[in-house]
Symmetry: C2
Subunit: 220 residues, 2 copies
């Protein structure tokens, strides 16, 4: 380690401690995001501590519950979702707004498999997270209503169909290996076609290179 | 155990041994199907042996490779798929034939999550299984071509979209808990809507009870 600049006290003072704590916190959150992205949110706390290079006790000091770690790790993505929803609600074309949000959330899911799981999980006691999540759900419901009123979204579209689509997309993202992004984008194209009130057929994203044989290696 | 009928020899002869072997074999296959249905085909051989109440050595004597166990366990379902395809190919309405097969395979996937994984896996050396599987793939390709020629299936439908749909369905089946069957049937309804050449909108299966909060319990 390089020597500290001379304006720092010889022994670590409150500022240095706070900066250490902040650094640890960031390291833990980064490790958690990486681990969730690969393994989903069920990854053990000990594995996250190991990845962050801190002890389990240190991790628990910063994040007393698993829920507090998960919600903090995904706070930025939840804010991104909320932002996309706000933009979509301002779009004069409700169907275009709906499609934009749907594509955005599915792409976030394709990029980070932990996110949707976190988004679909209720964390008791995490009221700030729950509030943001509820606000996102309300925004989505409003977007759905407006797209239906505009005659663009089929009238029998149900709020639960968003969850259905996210689950379907998670199956594609988890199973399609290197084709995950292309496959997810193709699925989203199909789903938007089927959600749409009858009209002209629009072109789909190109098919993903999914062959019967290429999805899973042979069992070991 | 009841006494053997008197025409059997007093000490276990070849027939009794063969019957023991057959019983073991059936027990192992049953245990394998149960384990695959719950955990998918990646479940360890030792867990299957334990579930069947036989030693790992006995299991390996009957099924020398994991692939031989997996392909034998799903032989019946593969035959069922092949039968559904044959029936569909005889249907004078190619679109109805396509829908019937698609619904059937997705329902089998909803009932047994190991099956599709097995169906999507290539097992080197299992030539009989591979042949049946190739025949099923050929039948499906023919069905797709006929449905397109009839102007019922959209022309940009790609063979890989069947795999895409199976992956999407697996995400729904694995994530929707007790709502798996209802959710899968709703997804299949949407996908068939989007695969169809533009026309009249048809009613969907009812929505599954999927709420943002009800999919996953809070982390422990």
């Amino acid at each position: 380690m390089p020597a500290q600049p001379s304006h720092n006290p010889p022994a670590p003072g409150p500022d240095a401690l706070r900066s250490d704590a902040r650094e640890n916190r960031e390291r833990i959150l980064r490790a958690a995001r990486e681990a969730y992205a690969i393994q989903g949110i069920d990854v053990p706390i000990s594995a996250i501590a190991r990845r962050a290079g801190v002890g389990v006790a240190t991790l628990y000091r910063r994040f007393p519950t698993r829920a507090s770690l998960i919600t903090e790790a995904f706070a930025e993505q939840l804010a991104e979702c909320a932002g996309a929803l706000d933009t979509a609600l301002k779009d004069p074309d409700p169907w275009r707004g709906f499609c934009t949000v749907f594509r955005k959330v599915c792409a976030m899911q394709a990029a980070d498999r932990g996110f949707t799981h976190a988004f679909l999980t209720r964390f008791p006691g995490e009221s700030e997270y729950a509030e943001k999540r509820d606000r996102a759900a309300d925004g989505l419901a409003l977007l759905v209503r407006r797209a239906k009123e505009a005659g663009a979204l089929r009238p029998d579209f149900d709020a639960s169909d968003v969850v259905l689509a996210l689950l379907a997309n998670s199956g594609v993202v988890n199973g399609a290996g290197p084709e995950a992004a292309a496959a997810s984008s193709r699925l989203v194209g199909y789903l938007l076609e089927s959600f749409r009130e009858a009209g002209a057929v629009r072109p789909l994203p190109p098919p993903a290179a999914l062959e019967l044989d290429r999805l899973h290696g042979p069992p070991g």
